[in-house]
C-alpha cells in the first residue's frame, strides 16, 4: 500500500458524539464527556449494538482493552475503545449480575479484543457469547477456578 | 616421492634396525627371524607411509586448530571484542574445549537408530580426515601425490551430504530431519558451481594433480587473474559448502537448535564442530592451490609457509563475510546456487576454453 492514514486534527467533538449516542440509544447513560474522554454506562442487552454503532457510525477504529471488575454483588465489564479520528478514548461500562456473567463478545467487531476476552474468561469467569475461541489463556486448561475473583483467596491450596 | 617420505624412510629403516637388533639380543630364534622380516622393504615402506600419514594428519589438524583460533579472534575484533584470551594470545582455548569435550558422557537417544547414529558421524569425520591426505602443503611435504588429487578431493568432500542425511534421520527428531534435508539440498546445489570452476582450472592447466596445477601457476600466471569470475564463484560456493554464515541455515541455532547434529553430545559433537572448520580450511586450501598459486612464492621463506599464509588470508575473507552478513533462507540459498552461481561458473568455463583455444596459455 502506498498511502499513509493520518490522524492529525479531530473530526468531531466529544459532545457531538455523546449527543449522537444518546439520540440513537436513550438507555445509554453518559457518565463523563470531557475533552478526549467519553465514559458511558450501557445496559447489557444493547451492549453489542452500541459498540457496533460506535465502530461504524462514530469511527471508533480500535479496541484498546476489555477488562472486568469484580464488585462483590455484580461484575462490570469495561470496554476501552479508541477513536483516533476524533482523538477520544472511551470507556463503556456494562454491569452484569453475579450469577449470570455473560455478555456479547465484541471480537466480531474488533479482532484486538480476542485475547482480552479470553483472559477475562480465564481469570474472572465472564462468558463472552459469540467469541470464536473462548478458552483459558494464562491458566492451564484443567484449572477449575477463576483466580481474579474476590472470593479466590491467594495462598489457599487448590 | 616427497622429501618427507624420503626422510621418514631413512628414519624408519634406522628404527626398525634398532628393533631388530634388540630382538636379536634376546638370542631367541623366532624373534631374530621376526626382526629380519621387519627390515624387509615392504614392511619398511608400510611403516614409513603410516608414519608419514600420522605426522601429516597431526600437522594438518594443528593448522586446522589454528584456523579455529583465527576465526575466534578475528570475529571477536569485528564485533568489537577480544575473542579468546586463554593462554598465549588465546591459543589454548581450543585445547581446553577439546579436553572438556572428551570428558563428557556419551548419550544416544533412546528411539534413535543406534547403528546408523554412530555410523553417520564417523563417516562425516572420516571423510574430512581423508581429505587431509589429498592436499599437499608443498611439493616436498605431502602424503601422496595422486594424479587425480583435485577430483579426488572434491569427490570425498561430496560424501558429506550422505552422512548428514543419515545422521539427521537416525536421530529420531523432527528438527534434525529438517536440518539434514536442508543441509543435503544446499550442499548438492552448491557443489555444481564448485566443480565447474575446478573444470575451468583444469582446462587451462591440463593437470588434475595439485603439484601440477601449482607448477603451471608458477610458470604462467596465478589463475585468479584470468579466471576472476571463477574465483569469485568458487569463493561463494566454498562458503556455502562449509556451511558458514550467510549459508548456515542447516545449523541455524535460532530455529533448529543445532541442525542435523543436535543429538550428538560429546566427542562426536566436538569433532563434528572441529571438522566443520577443517572443511572450511580444506576449501580455503583448495582456493589457494587453484587460484592463488599454492605454495609459489619467493624463496626467503619455506614453501609450506607461503601456502599456509595464503590460506590464512583466504580464510580471513571467509571470516569477514561471516561477520558482516546475516543468514539467508534455504530457498534463497538454492536460488543463489542454481540461478546465479551456475551461470557464472559456466561463463568462467567458456572464458577458460576460449583462452586455451586462442593459445594464450
Amino acid at each position: 500500500m502506498s498511502q499513509v492514514i493520518v490522524y492529525d486534527t479531530p473530526d468531531r467533538s466529544v459532545e457531538d458524539l455523546a449527543n449522537d449516542l444518546k439520540a440513537k440509544f436513550p438507555a445509554v447513560e453518559v457518565l463523563k464527556a470531557a475533552p478526549k474522554r467519553l465514559h458511558l454506562q450501557v445496559p447489557r442487552d444493547i451492549s453489542f449494538e452500541v459498540c457496533e454503532f460506535m465502530k461504524e457510525g462514530l469511527n471508533f477504529e480500535h479496541c484498546s482493552c476489555v477488562t472486568t471488575v469484580d464488585y462483590m454483588d455484580h461484575f462490570t465489564v469495561v470496554f476501552h475503545l479508541s477513536s483516533w479520528t476524533n482523538h477520544i478514548l472511551s470507556e463503556v461500562l456494562v454491569d452484569l449480575p453475579r450469577d449470570d456473567p455473560t455478555v456479547d463478545s465484541i471480537t466480531p467487531l474488533w479482532g484486538g479484543a480476542n485475547w482480552h476476552e479470553r483472559e477475562a474468561y480465564d481469570l474472572m469467569g465472564i462468558v463472552f457469547k459469540g467469541h470464536p475461541d473462548l478458552r483459558r489463556i494464562m491458566m492451564p486448561e484443567e484449572f477449575r477456578f477463576h483466580p481474579l475473583r474476590k472470593d479466590f483467596i491467594v495462598g489457599r491450596r487448590v | 616421492m616427497s622429501n618427507l617420505y624420503i626422510e621418514l624412510t631413512n628414519f624408519t629403516e634406522w628404527l626398525l634396525g634398532l628393533v631388530a637388533a634388540l630382538l636379536d639380543w634376546t638370542k631367541l630364534g623366532f624373534l631374530s627371524d621376526f626382526g629380519e622380516w621387519l627390515q624387509t622393504a615392504p614392511v619398511v615402506d608400510f611403516v614409513s607411509t603410516l608414519l608419514v600419514a600420522v605426522i601429516f594428519l597431526i600437522t594438518a589438524m594443528m593448522f586446522g586448530l589454528c584456523f579455529i583460533w583465527q576465526e575466534r579472534k578475528f570475529l571477536g575484533r569485528f564485533m568489537d571484542r577480544r575473542g579468546t584470551q586463554v593462554g598465549f594470545l588465546g591459543f589454548f582455548q581450543n585445547f581446553a574445549d577439546g579436553i572438556k569435550v572428551v570428558l563428557k558422557e556419551h548419550i544416544v537417544p533412546k528411539d534413535s537408530d543406534h547403528r546408523l547414529f554412530e555410523l553417520a558421524i564417523f563417516a562425516y569425520l572420516a571423510s574430512t580426515f581423508m581429505l587431509f591426505g589429498c592436499i599437499p602443503f608443498s611439493d616436498n611435504f605431502y602424503v601422496i601425490n595422486v594424479n587425480l588429487a583435485v577430483l579426488l578431493g572434491v569427490a570425498i568432500f561430496a560424501f558429506g551430504p550422505f552422512s548428514i542425511l543419515i545422521g539427521g534421520w537416525s536421530s529420531n527428531n523432527k528438527f534434525t530431519l529438517i536440518g539434514g534435508m536442508r543441509a543435503a539440498a544446499q550442499l548438492i546445489a552448491l557443489e555444481i558451481p564448485l566443480l565447474l570452476c575446478i573444470v575451468a582450472v583444469v582446462v587451462l592447466t591440463g593437470d588434475l594433480s595439485f603439484v601440477g596445477v601449482v607448477t603451471w601457476q608458477e610458470e604462467n600466471i596465478w589463475l585468479i587473474v584470468p579466471l576472476c569470475i571463477g574465483a569469485l564463484t568458487f569463493f561463494i560456493a566454498a562458503i556455502g559448502e562449509s556451511e558458514r554464515i550467510p549459508f548456515d541455515l542447516p545449523e541455524a541455532e535460532a530455529e533448529l537448535v543445532e541442525g542435523w547434529a543436535t543429538e550428538y553430545g560429546d566427542v562426536r559433537w566436538g569433532l563434528q564442530m572441529a571438522s566443520d572448520y577443517f572443511r572450511a580450511y580444506i576449501l580455503s586450501g583448495l582456493f589457494t592451490m587453484l587460484f592463488l598459486g599454492g605454495w609459489a612464492g619467493p624463496e626467503f621463506i619455506w614453501a609450506e609457509a607461503w601456502y599456509l599464509g595464503k590460506t590464512f588470508v583466504v580464510f580471513f575473507f571467509f571470516i569477514w563475510v561471516r561477520a558482516a552478513t546475516v543468514r539467508i533462507r534455504t530457498d534463497q540459498i538454492l536460488k543463489l546456487g542454481w540461478r546465479r552461481l551456475l551461470p557464472m561458473a559456466v561463463i568462467n568455463l567458456l572464458i577458460a576454453v576460449a583462452l586455451k583455444v586462442a593459445g594464450v596459455f
Partner: protein, 362 residues
C-alpha cells in the same frame, strides 16, 4: 519433505524465543498454514498481587512488568495513580520524566535490535547494539542506580534530582551515538542478505492492523500515522517538537526502519526536554488514600499502546488494577503475519516484534 502437514512447537524452550512462550505452527513442507501463539508460562498473578499492596508499594512492582523497558511501565503506573489521586507532578519532574522516558525508549529499541541480530544470525549486529546500549545504561545507572529496573518515577514526581553535569553527559552520549547509529544502520540497510530476509516478509496492511489491535511501531510500519504522544499528549509531550515515523510497506523491513527512525526522534526529544527543564521541586506530597472512583491512562510504550485502568474504593490499596500490555495484543495478531511464509521467516517476523513476555503474561 513429507507432503502431509505437521505441527511443530517452537518453544517454550527455544534459542530464538525471547522470553517463555510457545508458538505452534502447522507446516506444509516449509510453509506455514496455521500459527497459534501460546502464552501463560510466565504468569505471575501481578494483577491479583497488587490488590494486596499499598499504592506506593506497587511502584517497584510496575517496573518488573516488562524488564526490557521498565521505566515506561513505572511511569505509566505513577501517571495513573496521580490521575486517581487528582494531583499533578511539578513541571521539573515532568520534563525530567520525558527526557528519561525517551532515553529508555532508545535503550529498549537497542535491546530489540540485539534480538533481531541474534535471530537473523548476525552476531555483529548483536554486539554492536549492546555496545551502544551500554552508553545509555551508564547514563540511567548514574541517574537511578540500576541498569535494568530503575524504579525512578514516584507517584507525584521522580525519586531524585538530576545528578551533577547530567545534561552535559547526556549530550555527549547522544552525539557519540548519532555517529555510531549511522554505522549500525549501514550494516543493515546496505546488507543484501539482510534485505533478502526482511523485505516483503510478514506483510500486514494498515486497516487490518488497526482492527487487530496492533499499535506502536508495527502499526506505524503499515502506514498508520498514530502516536499517542501526539494524539493524547501526556506529561509535556505537547511542547515537544518531533515527527511521527511511519513507513508504508508493512513488512519486516518497514518495522525495522520505523524503530531506527524513532531512535533519532527520541534523541531530538531528549535534547529539547533537557534544554527546557525548569527549576523547582521534583515531587509533591501524596495523600494516603485516594478518592473513590476509577481512572484510565494510556501512554506510548516503545512497543505500542499500554494502558492502565485503576479502580479505587477509598482505601489505601487499589481495588482493581488492569494492565493492557501492547505485546499481548501484538502477539495475538501475529498469525496473519505468519501464514503463508516459510518457517525460516518465523525468527525474522517474531524477532522484529520486540517480544517481552514479562508484560504479556504479567
Amino acid at each position: 519433505m513429507p507432503s502431509d502437514e505437521m505441527w511443530i512447537n517452537m518453544g517454550p524452550q527455544h534459542p530464538f524465543n525471547h522470553g517463555l512462550w510457545n508458538l505452534r505452527v502447522k507446516l506444509k513442507g516449509e510453509t506455514i498454514t496455521q500459527a497459534e501463539p501460546i502464552i501463560g508460562y510466565l504468569h505471575r498473578g501481578w494483577e491479583k498481587m497488587v490488590e494486596n499492596r499499598t499504592y506506593s508499594q506497587i511502584v517497584p512492582l510496575a517496573d518488573r512488568l516488562c524488564y526490557g523497558s521498565s521505566l515506561s511501565w513505572n511511569h505509566l503506573y505513577c501517571l495513573t495513580a496521580e490521575r486517581l489521586f487528582g494531583i499533578e507532578a511539578p513541571d521539573r519532574a515532568k520534563y525530567i520524566r520525558v527526557a528519561v522516558l525517551e532515553l529508555q525508549r532508545i535503550t529498549s529499541h537497542l535491546t530489540w535490535l540485539m534480538a533481531v541480530g541474534t535471530d537473523l544470525g548476525s552476531y555483529t549486529i548483536m554486539t554492536w547494539s549492546i555496545r551502544e546500549r551500554e552508553l545509555f545504561l551508564d547514563l540511567l545507572c548514574k541517574l537511578s542506580g540500576a541498569r535494568m529496573t530503575y524504579n525512578y518515577c514516584r507517584i507525584g514526581g521522580v525519586r531524585t534530582d538530576l545528578p551533577e553535569n547530567y545534561e552535559r553527559d547526556v549530550l555527549r552520549v547522544l552525539d557519540e551515538f548519532e555517529k555510531r547509529l549511522r554505522d549500525l544502520e549501514s550494516l543493515m540497510d546496505e546488507n543484501e542478505p539482510f534485505l533478502m530476509r526482511t523485505v516483503g516478509i510478514g506483510k500486514i496492511d494498515g486497516r487490518t492492523a488497526m482492527n487487530l489491535g496492533l499499535t506502536g511501531p508495527i502499526m506505524r510500519a503499515s502506514g498508520v500515522d498514530m502516536d499517542l504522544r501526539k494524539l493524547d499528549p501526556y506529561e509535556v509531550y505537547a511542547d515537544m517538537n518531533f515527527e511521527v515515523c511511519t513507513h508504508t510497506d508493512g513488512d519486516v523491513y518497514a518495522r525495522y526502519r520505523v524503530r531506527m527512525d524513532e531512535m533519532r526522534e527520541s534523541m531530538k526529544i531528549v535534547r529539547q526536554a533537557l534544554a527546557a527543564v525548569p527549576s523547582g521541586p521534583i515531587r509533591v506530597k501524596v495523600p494516603r488514600c485516594p478518592p473513590k472512583g476509577n481512572v484510565v491512562c494510556h501512554v506510548e510504550d516503545p512497543r505500542g499502546e499500554s494502558l492502565m485502568y485503576m479502580v479505587s474504593d477509598g482505601t489505601e490499596r487499589p481495588y482493581r488494577l488492569k494492565v493492557r500490555s501492547p505485546n499481548f495484543v501484538n502477539l495475538s495478531a501475529s498469525p496473519p503475519m505468519l501464514v503463508g511464509f516459510k518457517i525460516s521467516d518465523v525468527p525474522a517476523i517474531m524477532g522484529v516484534m520486540d517480544m517481552c513476555i514479562g508484560e504479556t503474561d504479567r
